[in-house]
């Protein structure tokens, strides 16, 4: 394969709040104890990363953003639409005019214009991109973010390993912990920017709550002494520690604590505020954060919807990358911009674009990424990939490798060794440092 790079929908019933976060973690412990995932694999294995914690920030453009109106414009073609291309800091590479700030900082991005992921229905496509694999009846694969959260977790951290933000109608789906079990499920922020039920129960002071925890720890340690090495007990302790930590971290979710200037820089759109929160969480030590910005599914009036969505994306992402960089976090944070698919070259009778998986784009920045890279190419009308075709597994392998995780590392699931990225996948080395 020739590869070219230019260089330079749900309800509230599954909401994870404090209590369900705890029960999920405990359930996961049970899985670990009874042979779901091998113990060796269950231990975070990227020890060198502990010295310099790495993070991943997923920007999930739910519904399928248009590559034509973002990363791969086709000006003057029947498929191109009315937006013009603009030059970027990468000579010879243009993006849609709706992304002027992105164009000016393209030296930070690596763009992949050659995704062919074949599946163009929302749910299976989202599963594919999120796990890097087609669904299998025999095994429930975890979302890449869950795997990354597990792999990049900081032992004894009081913070959740993974926080996922979306509105129930927006992100379309919750990250699936799959065979890693419920203890690795992310903390979901679905109804707002703060976890629900994070406060102390009515009538209980913080001191009383701490005393209760001490008592629980005492009883637990005595119990553990009689059952040395019990992972179940270890899991319980870890879960309680996380919940207590989450309660102590309430301030992290309070954007009022950010200077007004910073809040204004991010803008007051929901996406802007979510990305600001994402930065706060990463800065505090959360390993993986996902921000899902929805309603890219522009079957009608595609150009009007992208006029609204892309400038917001452009502005917020530019502020976010600058902010991460200024705080010294960009080098250690992999930022990934993904959708479940792109949009059709053909403009339909409703002036919309439909789902299209045969030739579309995604983007990376930050940790491990060679900024200023453009990988792969589509034909003049954006209908097919003509150079550097990659699939969902390659994207997963690239993400793992970018943060220093061997994509070929295996989990032992029952009797079956399961590599982090699907067999035969290849990381896109051209965009990696």
């Amino acid at each position: 394969m020739k590869r070219t790079a230019l260089t330079s929908c749900g309800g509230q019933d599954h909401t994870i709040h404090r209590r369900s976060f705890l029960s999920g973690m405990l359930a996961g412990s049970t899985v670990a104890s009874f042979g779901g995932v091998g113990l060796e694999a269950d231990q975070p294995a990227v020890k060198p990363l502990r010295k310099e914690q790495r993070h991943v920030l997923f920007i999930w453009l739910a519904g399928g953003s248009s590559q034509f109106e973002m990363w791969d414009p086709k000006p003057g073609r029947e498929t191109g639409g009315p937006f013009r291309p603009i030059d970027t800091t990468i000579p010879g590479y243009q993006v849609c005019e709706l992304m002027p700030q992105t164009a000016a900082m393209m030296d930070r991005y690596a763009v992949v214009r050659s995704l062919n992921t074949e599946i163009s229905a929302h749910a299976p496509a989202a599963d594919l991109i999120s796990t890097g694999r087609p669904k299998e009846a025999a095994i429930d694969y975890p979302e890449i973010g869950v795997v990354l959260g597990h792999e990049l977790a900081v032992r004894d951290s009081e913070l959740p390993d993974y926080v996922s933000m979306f509105l129930p109608s927006e992100g379309r789906r919750r990250p699936n912990p799959g065979f890693l079990g419920g203890r690795h499920a992310p903390l979901l922020l679905e109804s707002g920017l703060r976890p629900e039920n994070i406060g102390l129960p009515a009538g209980v002071t913080d001191a009383q709550h701490v005393e209760r925890e001490h008592l629980r720890e005492l009883l637990s340690s005595k119990f553990a002494q009689r059952r040395a090495g019990s992972d179940l007990i270890s899991g319980y302790n870890s879960a309680y520690q996380k919940v207590r930590g989450l309660m102590r971290s309430d301030h992290l979710f309070n954007l009022d604590q950010e200077p007004q200037k910073v809040r204004d820089q991010y803008g007051r759109t929901e996406f802007g505020q979510q990305c600001l929160l994402a930065r706060r969480l990463i800065e505090a030590g959360v390993s993986v954060v996902k921000v899902a910005r929805g309603f890219w599914d522009s079957h009608h009036d595609n150009f009007e919807s992208h006029r609204e969505l892309v400038p917001d994306f452009d502005h917020v992402m530019s502020v976010l990358l600058d902010d991460l960089d200024q705080r010294g976090l960009l080098e250690s944070t992999l930022v990934m911009v993904l959708s479940e698919f792109g949009r059709t070259p053909k403009i339909n009778p409703n002036v919309g674009r439909d789902h299209y998986a045969a030739a579309w784009s995604c983007a990376f920045a930050g940790c491990g990424i060679r900024g200023g890279s453009v990988y792969g190419k589509t034909d003049a009308d954006g209908k097919t990939v003509v150079d550097g075709e990659v699939d969902a597994a390659d994207i997963a392998a690239t993400a793992f490798k970018a943060v220093g995780i061997d994509p070929e590392k295996h989990y032992q699931v029952g009797l079956r060794p399961v590599p982090l990225a699907r067999e035969e996948s290849h990381a896109i080395d051209d965009i990696l440092l």
Binding site: P82, T269, F295, D301, E304, E308, I347, P349, N350
Partner: protein, 345 residues
């Protein structure tokens, strides 16, 4: 030729499709040359086309390509076609020869959405996403005045659009309308804003369920006596991924600033163009959406609607001849020619 009595009793349900003039892309604009019975259309391939309606087999034939983006507005006066485009230009072109007569390169700093000619042919009014209304001398192309006052962002902080403009029959008032449902009336002589209506139902933004906007007032039309303004678009949308909401038209009293009527139809579509039909009591509108493309007739009291036809794709614009006998709907895939008085033969 029919008698006036016949016209007064015409029924939209009698209308018949005469022909379809195919065009492979999307047409956004149209205008008629009444003398030569020619229809001009333009759209997504940047070109202006002519349909010779007097020909035995009319066809969409390219005449000129002088814009650098979608052609979004066409108006005809005295042998000249004035075109507006998403490239921000207004261009005057000899309708017969295709010779470019004059152009205003930066007429607007954003997509021109609409441009209309005053009935007396003295000036053109244009609107664009720079949220400005501009009046131009129809002969010389000189800028006469600029009206500013539409919000530059939606209440949620996103880009908005200024879709629609209309000129009162006496040429004294210009109306403009935007994506968030604001309508402004401007006094041509003084340049002052006379009135501002808010018609928020045309704009959907549900911050809880679906945080993306959709809709907007897509077209305006003054009544023949100038006292009323028809405002067209789409009602509350349930799914912003598409035009999943009812066709909506409102009638406003231009003098008092009161809404006279609000009418919706169960057909799910946005109405992209509206006009008062010369024959009472009809207002004609066209558009498209989840329910498919549509041309519909509405009672001037806004109390009921009668659908004329469902189309293959969105109708973006239409032209009516002076007597309202023929309607030419331009949109996805070409032009549909309808006769509204089929009994005339």
């Amino acid at each position: 030729m029919s008698s006036p009595e016949e016209k007064k009793t015409f029924s939209p349900s009698d209308a018949k499709l005469l022909a379809t003039y195919e065009y492979p892309q999307i047409l956004y604009a149209s205008c008629l040359d009444p003398d030569r019975r020619a229809l001009f259309v333009g759209g997504s391939d940047y070109a202006v086309y002519r349909v010779d309606l007097a020909a035995e087999k009319p066809a969409v034939e390219q005449r000129w390509r002088s814009h650098d983006n979608y052609v979004s507005a066409l108006t005809y006066h005295d042998g000249v076609v004035i075109s507006g485009s998403y490239d921000g230009q207004l261009i005057w072109t000899n309708a017969e020869s295709g010779e470019s007569l004059r152009g205003v390169k930066d007429a607007h700093a954003a997509w021109i959405r609409d441009a209309v000619l005053a009935r007396d042919g003295s000036f053109v009014a244009s609107v664009a996403d720079d949220m400005l209304v501009k009046l131009w001398d129809a002969k010389t192309g000189e800028l006469i005045t600029t009206f500013a006052g539409h919000e530059r962002l939606t209440p949620e902080g996103f880009a908005t659009a200024l879709y629609a403009v209309a000129i009162s029959p006496d040429g004294t008032t210009v109306a403009s309308a935007d994506r968030i449902g604001h309508v402004c009336l401007w006094d041509v002589k003084s340049g002052k804003r006379l009135r501002r209506f808010e018609a928020p139902t045309f704009y959907t933004y549900d911050a809880v369920k679906r945080s993306r906007s959709i809709g907007g007032i897509r077209s305006l039309a003054f009544s023949p006596d100038g006292s009323k303004l028809a405002v067209a678009g789409i009602g509350a949308v349930s799914n912003v991924d598409g035009f999943v909401g009812p066709c909506r038209m409102e009638l406003w009293n231009c003098v008092t600033g009161e809404r006279i009527a609000a009418c919706q139809d169960k057909h799910q579509a946005v109405l992209n163009h509206v006009a008062f039909h010369p024959v009472e009591p009809w207002i004609v509108a066209a558009g498209g959406g989840d329910g498919g493309g549509v041309i519909s007739f509405w009672n001037r009291q806004g109390s009921s609607s009668t659908h004329l036809a469902k189309l293959k794709g969105h109708a973006q614009h239409f032209s009516l001849d002076a007597e309202g006998r023929h309607l030419y709907a331009a949109g996805h895939g070409g032009v549909q020619a309808w006769t509204l008085f089929p009994r005339e033969g």
